[in-house]
C-alpha cells in the first residue's frame, strides 16, 4: 500500500485530469502528444529533413547530383550553398539527393525489420512452448549470420544496385536482436494479471497482444524502430564503402565515404563531410528526442501534469 501516490484517495477532492478528454485513449494520446515539447521538436526536425529530401531534388535544375558542374573544391558561396567537391560536384545537390536515399533505405530496412521482429517476438513470447522453440532457433540462426558478409554475397550475386532493394536485404537480416527483446518483454507482460483479465473479458490472442501487451511497450517499439532505422543507414553506408552501394545515385554514407577517400578532412574541405555527417546525426538524433517525448505520451505515470 505504500506505493499509493495519494495518501487519502477516498477523501481527496477528485482532480480527475479535467484537461484530458475522457474519450478513447487515441484522442487522449493526441491530447498529450501536441503538448509535449520533446515530441514536437523531434518530429518537426524529422519532417523538415524529410521535406528537404523530398522537395530539394525537385527544385534542382540538374537531375544528376554526381555531375561535375562547378569549380573544383570551392568553399560554400551563393551559387554552391554547400560548396563543391574535389571534382566540382555540387555538395548541396548531393546532400538533398543523399537525404532522400538515406530516408528510403532507413524506412524500408527499419520497417521490414521491425515488422518481422514484432511478429516473431510477440508470437514466440505470447505462445511459448514449441512455437517459441522454433522461432527462437530461427532468430538465433539469423542472429549469428555475419550479416555484412551475407549482404555482400547477395549483392554481388544478384547485382543489386537500387536503394530500395538494398533496404529490403538490410531489413531481412537486421531483425533478430529486436525480436529477442520483444520476446523477452512479452514473456514478462503476459504473466501479468491484466492479461488474464482481458482473457476473462473474451479477448482473443491477437487482441491481447496488440491491445494489452503492445501498448505497454509502445515507446520501446518505437525506439526499436529508430535503432533499426539508424542501423539500416549505417549498414547501407558500410555497403556503399565496399563498393556495393547504389551506383546510380548518391547517399549520405556514400558522400562521407568519398569525402574520406579523397582526404577532405586533411585538405580542410569541411563542407564536404559535415553536411552528410550532420544529416545522419540530425535524423537519428531527432528521432531519439521524439522517442523520449513519446514515452511520456504513452506512459501515464511519466506525464508531468
Amino acid at each position: 500500500m505504500s506505493t499509493l501516490p495519494d495518501p487519502a484517495p477516498e477523501t481527496a477532492a477528485a482532480p480527475a485530469a479535467p484537461s484530458a478528454p475522457a474519450a478513447k485513449p487515441g484522442s487522449e494520446w493526441l491530447h498529450y502528444a501536441v503538448r509535449n515539447p520533446k515530441l514536437i521538436i523531434g518530429a518537426v526536425l524529422v519532417v523538415i529533413l524529410l521535406a528537404v529530401g523530398v522537395v530539394g531534388p525537385m527544385l534542382l535544375d540538374n537531375d544528376n547530383p554526381n555531375e561535375y558542374v562547378g569549380p573544383q573544391a570551392a568553399a560554400p558561396d551563393g551559387t554552391y550553398w554547400m560548396g563543391t567537391t574535389t571534382f566540382g560536384q555540387d555538395v548541396y545537390a548531393q546532400f538533398v539527393h543523399g537525404l532522400r536515399a538515406t530516408f528510403l533505405v532507413g524506412v524500408v530496412g527499419g520497417a521490414i525489420a521491425a515488422v518481422i521482429a514484432m511478429v516473431v517476438g510477440f508470437l514466440a513470447g505470447y505462445r511459448g512452448g514449441l512455437v517459441d522453440e522454433i522461432l527462437n532457433m530461427l532468430t538465433n540462426i539469423v542472429l549469428v549470420l555475419p550479416a555484412l558478409a551475407v549482404l555482400l554475397i547477395i549483392n554481388a550475386y544478384m547485382g543489386v544496385r537500387s536503394v530500395a532493394v538494398q533496404g529490403l536485404f538490410i531489413g531481412l537480416t537486421s531483425w533478430p536482436w529486436a525480436a529477442r527483446a520483444i520476446r523477452a518483454q512479452t514473456f514478462s507482460l503476459r504473466t501479468r494479471e491484466f492479461v488474464d483479465l482481458a482473457r476473462l473479458s473474451g479477448s482473443g490472442t491477437w487482441r491481447i497482444v496488440f491491445r494489452e501487451i503492445a501498448p505497454n511497450m509502445s515507446s520501446y517499439l518505437f525506439m526499436m524502430f529508430i535503432l533499426l532505422f539508424g542501423g539500416s543507414i549505417l549498414i547501407a553506408s558500410s555497403l556503399d564503402f565496399i563498393g556495393l552501394g547504389p551506383t546510380e545515385g548518391v547517399s549520405l554514407g556514400l558522400m562521407l565515404q568519398s569525402a574520406q577517400q579523397w582526404s577532405a578532412l586533411q585538405l580542410g574541405m569541411w563542407w564536404w563531410f559535415i553536411p552528410p555527417g550532420a544529416g545522419i546525426t540530425a535524423i537519428v538524433g531527432a528521432l531519439y528526442v521524439a522517442n523520449v517525448g513519446l514515452d511520456e505520451v504513452f506512459n501515464p505515470k511519466l506525464r508531468e501534469s
Binding site: M1, A12, F194, S201
Partner: protein, 297 residues
C-alpha cells in the same frame, strides 16, 4: 454447480522440461449455486492453480472439471457466466489505460448493443453497489486509485455480467480491515443472489465467516473437507488442527500450539487421496503419520 472430480495439474519443470511437479493432486469437491466454498491452504498448496483451472486459464492435466454438467471451455460464453477476481489489484489493470477500461472491455464483448447512456448508468450502478463514488473512481488511472478501490472496481466489473460463478482468489489480502468486511459483505450479497463462489484464502477466520463448505489443501491434496462448522468445530486431520491452533486470538496472548502427535483418523480405508466420510458432510484424509494404522501397514 461446479464439480471437480479428481482434478490433477502437473507442470513441466527442471532443465529441458524433464521433470514434473504435481501442483494439484486428485482434488474433488463441489460448489452449488448460492454456496460459498472456501479453499484454505498454505502458500504453494495449489489453491490458486485450482482457481485458474476453474477459470480455464490453466489446463487440467487429468480428472474432470465441470460447470452445470459442461466441461470448462474458455471462451466468451463461458466467461459470461464465470468470472474471477484476483489477488493483486495493481497488476489486474493495464497501467497505460484508465482503470474503467475494464468496464469497456466487458461492454465490447458482452453488451455491444447497449447505448452509451444506458451503459454509463449500469456502470454507475455497479460502482455504487460496491460502495464506491463513481465521481472519484471513473476516468482515473490505476496508479491514482487505492488497492481497495481497484479491488472493488473488479468486483463491480463482475457484476455487469450475468454471472453464475465467481472465483475470488485472495481478494481481501491487499485490503485493510474495514474495507475487508465491506468486500466480504458484498460476497454475502452475491451468494444470496444465487451465485456460487469459490473463495480462495489462507486466512481461516475469513474463511469461516461466510463459507458453507471448507476445503483444506496441503501440497496439492485435500486433507479435510466438509461443512465449515464440522471441519472447524471438530478438526480431525493433524494439519487442520495445526492451522487452527495457529490462528491468533484477540483476547489471548500467544502460546505455542501443542504438537499433534498422531493422526486423529486412521481407520476406515483412508489411503492416498481417498477421503473417508467420518460423519455426514465431513471428509478427512489419513495423515500418514508413523502411527497411522493403515498407511504404515
Amino acid at each position: 454447480m461446479l464439480t471437480l472430480d479428481r482434478v490433477t495439474k502437473t507442470f513441466r519443470a527442471g532443465a529441458f522440461g524433464g521433470g514434473s511437479v504435481t501442483a494439484v493432486d486428485r482434488v474433488s469437491f463441489e460448489a452449488a449455486p448460492g454456496e460459498l466454498v472456501s479453499l484454505i491452504g498454505e502458500s504453494g498448496s495449489g489453491k490458486s492453480t485450482i482457481g485458474r483451472m476453474v477459470l480455464g486459464l490453466t489446463g487440467v492435466s487429468a480428472g474432470s472439471l465441470t460447470l452445470d454438467g459442461e466441461q470448462v471451455r474458455p471462451g466468451k460464453d463461458f466467461y459470461r457466466r464465470v468470472q474471477g477476481v484476483f489477488q493483486d489489484p495493481f497488476s489486474c489493470y493495464n497501467p497505460v489505460f484508465k482503470a474503467d477500461r475494464v468496464f469497456a472491455l466487458v461492454r465490447r464483448a458482452y453488451h455491444p448493443g447497449v447505448s452509451d447512456k444506458e451503459w454509463a448508468d449500469r456502470v454507475e450502478k455497479a460502482v455504487r453497489d460496491v460502495r464506491l463514488d463513481p465521481g472519484q473512481v471513473l476516468g482515473r488511472y490505476p496508479h491514482q486509485l487505492s488497492g481497495g478501490q481497484l479491488q472493488r472496481l473488479l468486483i463491480a466489473r463482475a457484476l455487469l455480467l450475468d454471472l453464475r460463478f465467481l472465483v475470488a482468489d485472495e481478494i481481501t489480502s491487499m485490503l485493510d480491515a474495514s474495507t475487508r468486511i465491506d468486500v466480504l459483505n458484498l460476497l454475502a450479497g452475491l451468494k444470496e443472489r444465487g451465485l456460487g463462489v469459490l473463495y480462495i484464502t489462507h486466512d481461516l477466520s475469513l474463511g469461516t465467516y461466510l463459507a458453507e463448505k471448507t476445503v483444506v489443501l496441503r501440497k496439492g491434496r485435500v486433507v479435510e473437507r466438509g461443512d465449515t462448522q464440522k471441519v472447524f468445530g471438530n478438526p480431525l486431520h493433524p494439519y487442520t488442527r495445526t492451522l487452527l491452533a495457529a490462528v491468533p486470538r484477540l483476547n489471548q496472548p500467544w502460546t505455542s500450539a501443542e504438537p499433534v502427535e498422531a493422526c486423529a483418523y486412521h481407520e476406515g480405508g483412508a489411503r492416498d487421496t481417498d477421503l473417508h466420510e467420518t460423519e455426514p458432510g465431513h471428509f478427512v484424509a489419513c495423515a500418514g503419520l508413523p502411527d497411522c494404522g493403515r498407511t504404515s501397514a
